[in-house]
Every structure is written in structure tokens, then in C-alpha cells.
Symmetry: C6
Subunit: 235 residues, 6 copies
Amino acid sequence: MRPRVPTGIHGLDELIGGGFEKGKAYLVTGETGTGKTIFSLQFLLNGISKGEPGIYATMDQNPQHIIEDGASLGWNIEKYIDSEEFIFLDATPQLKSEESSFNYGSFFSELNTYTRILGGRRVVLDPIVPFAGRYKKYIDIRENVRKIIKTFESNSCTTLITTEIPPGSQSLSTLGVEELFVHGIIVLGLQEQANRFSRTLLVRKMRGTEIELSYQTFTIKPKEGIIITGPLIYE
Amino acid sequence: MRPRVPTGIHGLDELIGGGFEKGKAYLVTGETGTGKTIFSLQFLLNGISKGEPGIYATMDQNPQHIIEDGASLGWNIEKYIDSEEFIFLDATPQLKSEESSFNYGSFFSELNTYTRILGGRRVVLDPIVPFAGRYKKYIDIRENVRKIIKTFESNSCTTLITTEIPPGSQSLSTLGVEELFVHGIIVLGLQEQANRFSRTLLVRKMRGTEIELSYQTFTIKPKEGIIITGPLIYE
Amino acid sequence: MRPRVPTGIHGLDELIGGGFEKGKAYLVTGETGTGKTIFSLQFLLNGISKGEPGIYATMDQNPQHIIEDGASLGWNIEKYIDSEEFIFLDATPQLKSEESSFNYGSFFSELNTYTRILGGRRVVLDPIVPFAGRYKKYIDIRENVRKIIKTFESNSCTTLITTEIPPGSQSLSTLGVEELFVHGIIVLGLQEQANRFSRTLLVRKMRGTEIELSYQTFTIKPKEGIIITGPLIYE
Amino acid sequence: MRPRVPTGIHGLDELIGGGFEKGKAYLVTGETGTGKTIFSLQFLLNGISKGEPGIYATMDQNPQHIIEDGASLGWNIEKYIDSEEFIFLDATPQLKSEESSFNYGSFFSELNTYTRILGGRRVVLDPIVPFAGRYKKYIDIRENVRKIIKTFESNSCTTLITTEIPPGSQSLSTLGVEELFVHGIIVLGLQEQANRFSRTLLVRKMRGTEIELSYQTFTIKPKEGIIITGPLIYE
Amino acid sequence: MRPRVPTGIHGLDELIGGGFEKGKAYLVTGETGTGKTIFSLQFLLNGISKGEPGIYATMDQNPQHIIEDGASLGWNIEKYIDSEEFIFLDATPQLKSEESSFNYGSFFSELNTYTRILGGRRVVLDPIVPFAGRYKKYIDIRENVRKIIKTFESNSCTTLITTEIPPGSQSLSTLGVEELFVHGIIVLGLQEQANRFSRTLLVRKMRGTEIELSYQTFTIKPKEGIIITGPLIYE
Amino acid sequence: MRPRVPTGIHGLDELIGGGFEKGKAYLVTGETGTGKTIFSLQFLLNGISKGEPGIYATMDQNPQHIIEDGASLGWNIEKYIDSEEFIFLDATPQLKSEESSFNYGSFFSELNTYTRILGGRRVVLDPIVPFAGRYKKYIDIRENVRKIIKTFESNSCTTLITTEIPPGSQSLSTLGVEELFVHGIIVLGLQEQANRFSRTLLVRKMRGTEIELSYQTFTIKPKEGIIITGPLIYE
């Protein structure tokens, strides 16, 4: 049995057999504004608190904004960037501006370097879409997502990938394939009951682990971040 | 923590931690006729009332009509145009008529100039679609929207972008990507109950801010504009 | 404030602040058979009864049929055609038969000429689709609709445009963009309750005007045409 | 006012002001198996019983099968074909087998000849799709349908066109445009209530005519054909 | 009136005026696993029991599997193949492996030969899709299906064609056109009521025949095959 | 009658006449995370426990992960790999990286070799999509799936194929054709009742076998794997 990596989300490890399996990839998915970036930060900061540096790789997100979003929750990400425990990897420069091609080789070699030298054991890819969606055919997008996830796993990273559920869709992802190659899927959502929205979390898939299949509600608190508060109750 | 910029919408600042964060981009979305342009004007005029000039950039809207729509609410936009506090930036001339190409460079350089020289701190882009929708592939439209928003943020503008929800759709935008790169999303709508329509506002996402997740109703009053009147009640 | 132009629809002006705003464009939309052409004729004939000639521009409709449809309601359109108060402008000859290209220049120059010389102040474009739908890309159709409406407005015409809602769709138009550039939208419909259909009218959007947001029922009577009979009541 | 042409459908003329308007085009639409061909035959045979020959133009239907379907209802179509009162016009030979092009000129010239020489006053086109659907772009299919209908009308034929509603769709036609250019629309259907299907007829649109807007039920009886039995009652 | 051919399905002939009309084509449609192949076999075996050989043409199905499926119901198809009463016609060899083109000429000439020499009077095409779906444009697929059915009818075969309804769709066929050219349509299905599935049969269309329009339930019994057990009752 | 191969799923053989038919292909389908891989492993291990080696062919799955997923259920797959009873066949090397072409010949020749030499009698293809989805046209994908299944059957393998149902879809497969060529279909799912999810299994199709058509619930237990616990009860 592989060792488990705690997720850092209060109340989640109990639901998934103690945490994520070390060296495997997990998907955090949900519509816009459901808490995917907070989940990702909490996961990395949990590792740092245990002396384990982490990498936050992105192609969309403004580092300064991530830092500020963390700050609004009382998290001092800047400090960990300075101490090289939180490694922000911005892939935007590898994107050639005119055409929609992307220098994967260069980006992943940089990612590999960091993973090895700095001992980064947790990796976040938030979101995966701009890396994987540059193909036309379903089968090529599918293959591309598979390769990206395989690259992370072959580096023994415990990896958290995010993707966006288009509003109103019943799909689990933007490209329709992100869910196929990961070891587990966590769906974040908003459910309305009579004009009251609850934030919900569902462990939708977790290979090799017995899971509790029901929607959990959660709140977001300063310093703590996401705290699971128990199963959703229908009124 | 960044300073907050009041939205000018009566009752909204209380719901979003005091206003928008300075220098970030927000999306106001909704079906046609739900109040997006009134929201945008109210936001700019609030700035002007505090001595802060603003820019209203568009490619679709007739300046004279905007002025008249304001006048119908008792707002004297013309006066502020004369005093160069309300800067109307019409991008239509940069659009080459025959092909669907657009001279972005020229438009954004003009926008930059105004932003710097006149000290424009609030910017409205109403709507973003004609600037961003000139590509075929999802990934290119996505990239283009990201660049436009990044340009505004790198100029430290507090930016309000509008987009249209196609009638009957559960999406949050015309292109399906406008919501991904903004700091917050405000959804305007119409909800019918037994042939009575209520105007509604939902703060759908607000990074770094604890929000009240419920539909608010609002009215539009002369001089005042949009006034939030409390949570929607289902009958 | 712009002067208001009465719509000619009995009971409508009261719902929209006295009529349409002079020189602006409005959309009348609805599924086939909901009364869009009757609405259009009634609008033009109201102008003629006030000594104001009007133009009815089309690319689809057979002039003789329009005359007969009017006659079935007791309207003598032929008389007004003879007196050059009702100007029927058929754009079909400008349509090249083999390819789907259309000589816009020639049509709009003819339209301009009539508008100026004959003092035509009200214009109907019934429907806009064959003029605007000759492009493949969403952004080009969008741009084209914008230009057509702008042309009318720059000639100070109070313009009524019609478009068709595909049966069963929740959209507001055939092309999905006609609603974006107009000053107001009136939706005509049929609502069934236990095998009784009511004809309904909804003022969906009316810039610069406080409106009553509820479905109105209407009947069609000889001589009078469309008469609004009050709000729809759900049984 | 144009003279009215009786439809031949028992109970229908009363609902539409005495019959179809002479020289105009009408659409009979419905899912497969709802009675469109019986409706068409009944319309032509009604004319023949009044000494008025009719044309049945098709590209799909086997003449022998049409004759037999009529025979199963006790209608002797063969007799009228021999007497040249029922003119069966099969357009299949004009269809070039290899490519999907069709010799419209040849077919319509043959149609014209028959219309003039034999005094054919009623025409059926059952169905219109194979004549009109040979284009890719919406705007071209739309234009093509318009031209076909115009051709019939310019020959003063009272024309009945059929089209198919795809099962489960809320559309009114196969191509989505057949309904736009006709003077009236009759929708045939099947409605299930607790495993009992009723055959229904709805007059959906009838220009220049006040109509009863409600679903009618009908039965099909030997010799008589379609007989309207009164409004549908919901149980 | 054409003679009727019994269907072999217990209880069906009574619902459709005595059987299928000789020399015409019928469609048996339904989702996967609803009994289309059993229906087809039962139809052919009924003919054989009356001394009338039949042809089973396919491009997908493994002859050995068909034999075994029959055997599981106690039907000895092999015996009839040996006696040349059950003619299995496998079109797979006519399919060129590399490209998706198919040698129609060769297949239909073989089919013609068998039909004439062996006196085959009943033909099954199970399913029609791989023969007809090799085109891109709707109008070409439509034309192709029409030609295949016409070929069978011109050979005076009483023909049973099967097609697949995509799961969850309200359509009647895979290609959306199979239903247009046949003389009758029988829909097989599964209806769930509180986790009990009933097998259902609906005669959806039957030209020239008065039919009972309601869902029938059926069971599948050894030796007997499909037995209609009466109308479906909603609980 | 063919001999039956036990499925290994506790409680399933009773529902399908004793097991799968030897030498035929079956589809296990369901959304992500519904138990398809556990089903596949259980099927192969059941064979091994009876002295019958099996092949697990894939193009997506990491062998190490499959081993670990089995280990988490207490299954020692590694031992059977060493004893060459569990043959893991990874097709990834046959996939050319740059283009989306795949060396089918090489893969299937390897598969054939193993099937013959090692006496592999049970084969799993988990999932079929990357092997079959490399075409654009529906008819080509359809043909390709047919060929793959035929290859297995001509080798007398009892074959289990998996495919993915896109979340929220009513389809039975990713490509829409996997279900057409198999002998039986088993649908795995998750059904929610008031925030309690049940794992369900439905035998949707089983040629030549009388089946119980109702949703069964199941649990997943260490050592045992999937255990059917009885019909789903709606609350």
C-alpha cells in the first residue's frame, strides 16, 4: 500500500481513507467560483507546514493575485515563495503569442528540474485546460491529457489538477477527458435550496479506496480555509 | 490587502466586503435587458462623484444613446464628457470593415494613453465580445480574453467587463470563457413568478472575499439607478 | 429627452412611457404566426394617419400578400401606396440569384433616397434575417446586424425590425444577435393553458424607460388590429 | 378578398374562414405517420369532385403506393389518373444519380406546362425537403424554399406543401424554414394520454384569417378520410 | 388490395389489419437490446413454415451468432440454411477495408439473384445503417436510404428493415431518415416503472391500415418468440 | 448451446443464465468511477482461480496502478503476473507519438500470439476508446469497433470491453457504437436518492438469454470485490 498524503482540507482525509495516495494524480473540478484555487493552495500549504515544498504551475493565473487571495484568508504565501517552499511556475512565457502552439518541452523540463532539485513533492496544475486543449480531435485532446498526467506521475509527484465545469452542464470537466486518467475526482459545487446556496463537495471517484458517496457541505474560514461541515441535508 | 473601490450600486458594497478590489477585473453578466449598461454607468459616475475620472470603452454602443439612457435616469453624462471626467472610447474605427480583423494595437495604445494621462482609474468594457470573439478555436478565444483582462490589470485599472448570457442558456457568458479570468462575477437577471418578473442580482464569485450567496432583488430609480432591495423571496 | 412616436398598438404606449423613442430601432420578435407583420403594418399605418409616410422594406414578402393581409383586417394599404405614403421597398432584385451575395450598397442607397426625399420617418424591416444572415462566423453576423441598425439610426428613422424565434427555442431571435443592438424588444407569443392558446406580448427590454415586466394578452380585431387586453392570468 | 378553396377536410373549412385562399401556399406538417399524405390526397380529390384537376408532385413517393393507400380508404385515384384529373408528377428522373444535384429547370418547366394546359389549380408538393434541402448554409436553404413557393404562387396555384417534423422536436419542419413563406400552417400530431394516442390537428398560423387556436382531434374513416371531431380534451 | 403477409409475431397481425402488405417495406426500430433481431428471425421463420424461403442480409452480424441466438430460443436455423430456405447474405466482403466505400452493385446483384432464383419472398436487412450511412450530407443519406428501399420493393420483396434508436433519444432511427420511406413502423422499447422494465411494442405508422395506437407489452418465450400480451398499463 | 463462463461477480451469473457465453464479447459501461476496472479484474481473477490465464489489454492504464488498485482490495495481481497467468498487454508503445495513428497490426499480432501460446481464454480491453476512436466519420468509427470485436471473437476469446458514459448523458458509450456489436451489455451506475448514492448494475442486453430487467444494487468488499445485493428499491 502506498503511503497517504494528507489533503489539508479539514474533514476530507477521513472520507478518503487518510488522504491522497502518494505519487498519484487527482482532479478537483467545479463551476467557476466554487473554491478550486483555495483547495489547491490549502493542499500545497499543508505540505509546506510539514516541511515539504510544493509547486504551483499555471498558465492563466496572475501570481500576485494568487498571493492576495491567500492573504485575504490570512495565508502568507509570499513568505514561502521567498523561502523557496512555494514554487510558482508560470508557463505563460512558453506560449508563443501569434499561434496557439506551446513549448511543452521547455515547460516540462523546467518543471522536472524544480521537482528534482528542490524536492517538490506536491504539484498543482491550475487549470489543465490551456496545456491540454490545443487540439481539434477528441482523441488527440484525450491523448494529450493522458501524457501530461503520466509525466507528473512518472516524477512521483502527488498531483492536483483543476478543471472547470461549464455552468449548467452535467459534465465533470471542460474537455470531457480530464476525469479519465486521474486516480480520484473531487467535485466542488453550489446547490440552491429556496435561494440559499450551499457550498458542496462530492468525492466522485477514488480508486483503491472505499468512499462515502454523498454531498458534503463546507465553509471557507480565515486561516483554516475549506472546512467540511457534514453531509448536505435536503430541506 | 488592497483598497476597495465602491461599486456605486446601492446595497452591493455591503455584500462584497466593501466594494471591488482596486486594480482588478469584474464581470457583469446577464441576458439582454437586465441592466448591465446601467450598472456600468453607475460604477463610472460613482467614481466621478469622488473626483476620479473613468473610461467607457465600447465597440457596439452609440455614444449618443448612452448619454440619452443616462439622461432618462437623470444623469448628466454629457457634462462629464465635456469636463473630460467621463471618457467615451469608441473602438469602431479600429475595426476594418471588410474583414473581421481588428486593430488591437491601436485601440489599446489609445486606451493606455488615456489611462495614464487623464488618470482614469475605472474602466468599463461594454461588452467584451466584439473584442475577443474573433477566433474560431475555443483555446484561442480563451487566450484572447485572458490577454485583454491582463492588459487592463497591468494598468492598475479597476475594470468592469460586461457580457451577454444567451436567452434560456445556463451559461454565464457569450463566449464561455469571460468568467474564467475575472476576480468576481455579478449576474443580473429576470425571474418570473406567476407573470410577475423580478429583477435579480447574484454575486456568483468574488475571489478573496466572503460573500452572501443568494439572489437579491433590485429596482431602478431615477437619479439613484440600481438599488438592491433584499433577498428574493420565492412565493 | 427624445420625443416619443406612438406605436399604433392599442394599449402598448402606456406600457412603454408613451411610445418608441424617435430615431431609434426596436425589435418585434416571436415564433411564426404570432402577429409580427400585423404589428409592423399597424405601426406604419398609425404614422400615415398622422400624415407621416413610412417605408416597409423586405426581401421575403410578396407585396400583394401584404396588401391582402391588410385588407382582411379592413386596412386599405393599396390606397396609401398610390398616395406614396406607404412605400413598399422590395430588396429581392438586389439579391444575385446564383450566389448568396447581396448588393447592400444598392439597396441601402435606394432606402436612403426614399427616406430623404419622401420624408419617410418610420421604417419597417420585416424580417432582418435575409439581409444579415449571409455570414458564417458569429462575430461577422453580429457585426452585420449592428451596421444595418446603425444605418437606420443615422438616418433618424424610428425603425421596427422583425425576427423569428425558432419554434420551441428560448432564444429571442433567429441569428442570436438581433436583440443586442436595438433600443427595445417586444416579444409576441402563444401560450397554451389546457388547449386554449392566448396571444401574448411581453416588453422584454426598453432602454431608458421604466417598463411593466409581465405578459400581456391581446386580440386582433378588424380595423383596430392588435388590442392589448390586460395581463395574462395563469389558471 | 380572394375566393376561398375548400380543403376537403371535414370540419376544417369552418375553422379557417371557409377554406384556403386561392393561389396561396399552405404547409401541412407533422411527424411521420400523422396523416400528411391522406390530407394531401383529400385536398386534391375534393377539387376533382368539383371538376378541378390537380397535380401531385413528389420526388420520394411511389405512385403505385399512393394509389393503393388511397384504395385502402376507398378512393379510386387510378380512375382520375386515367381521366387526367389527378396528375402524378414524379421528379425522380430529374435527380442525377451520382451527385446530389437536381435539374430544377426541367422539373418546374414540366410543372408549369401541366399547370397551364390541363388547368391544374391545386398542387401538392409532398414533401418539399428533397427539392429544397440541397444546400449547406441556412441562408441558401431558406432562399431556395422561398423560390419554390414563389414559383407556385406566381402560377396562381393553391398549393399544399408537406414537411416532416423530426420525432421529439419542437420545430415545425425538417429544414426549419418551410414555415416562413407559407400563408398558413396546419400541424398534424399524435398526443398520448395514459397510453391512448389521439390524432390531433392544430391551425398554427393562417394569415388574414381569424382562427380558433386549439388542438382538434380527428379520425380517419373509409371514403371520408380525415374528419375533425372537436377540440382535444385533456383528461 | 394487396394480399397480406403474416408477421409471425403472436398478436401483431390483429393490430395491423392482418399482416404486412406484400411487396412493401417495414421498419422495426428500437434501442439496443429491445428484440429487433428476434423479431426479424421470427418473421423469416414464419415464412419458412409456410414453404416460403427468406433472405437475411446483413453487414454487421456474425452468422454463427444469429444461429446460436435462434438456438437459445429453440429455433433450428441451421437446418433451414442447409435446406436453402434461410439464406444468410453477408455483405461484409463487399466492404473495401481501407476506405469506407462499399460495392453496392455487387451486393445488390447478388441479392437480386437470390431473390429471383430461390424464390425468396421475405427479406430482412438487419441493420440498414452500414449500407446507408456512408454519406456526409443529410440529403445524400436520405436519398441513399430511399434507393435501397426502392430496390427491395421493385423486386416485390416484403422487406423488414431494422435500425437503432440512440439511447435516450426521441428519434425513430440512427440516421433520422429510415422512417420516411417505409410503409409501416414498429417501435420496440423498454419502459421502466419503479425499477420494473416492460418490453413494449408500438405500431407507430402503418400506411393504408387502421391501427390501434397504444403501447403493447410483450414477452419472449422459447419456441414461440415474441408474444404480445396486451396494452401497457401505467401504474 | 455454448458453454457458459462464470463472470466472477457475486450474484451476476444467476441473472444472466449462468455466465457469459464462451467466445463472445460483452460490454461493461458506466460513468467514471462506477467500478468498471474492478469488474474487469474480478472477471480475469475468477478465470485464474479456475486455472485459466487471462489478458488485460489497455492503452491508457498504468500497470502499476492496476496492481495497486487490486492490492487495495486484497488481490495479489503481481503474483499472477509473475506466474504468467495475468498477462498485462500495454499498447502504448504502438502509439506513434506525433500523429494520432496507431500500429494496430503490431498490437493485434502480439495479442494473437499471447492468446494462442499462453492459452489465454479471457480478454479484457479496458477501455476500447483509444483503439477505436481515431476516425472522424460515424460510419468509420462504427466499422472499426466492429473489426476489433470480431478479431477477439475469431480467436474464441470471451471478451470484456469497457467504455465510458459521458457524465449526464443517456448514451450507453463514449463513441455511440460500442454497444452495437457485443453480445451483452452491463451498465454500472450511481443513483442518488436524497443525498445517498447507490451503486447500481443493470443487465441491459444479453443475446440468447432471458434476463431480469431491473437495477441491482451492489457493494465492493475486500477480497470479494463486487457483490450484488438485490434489486434497487425506490424510496
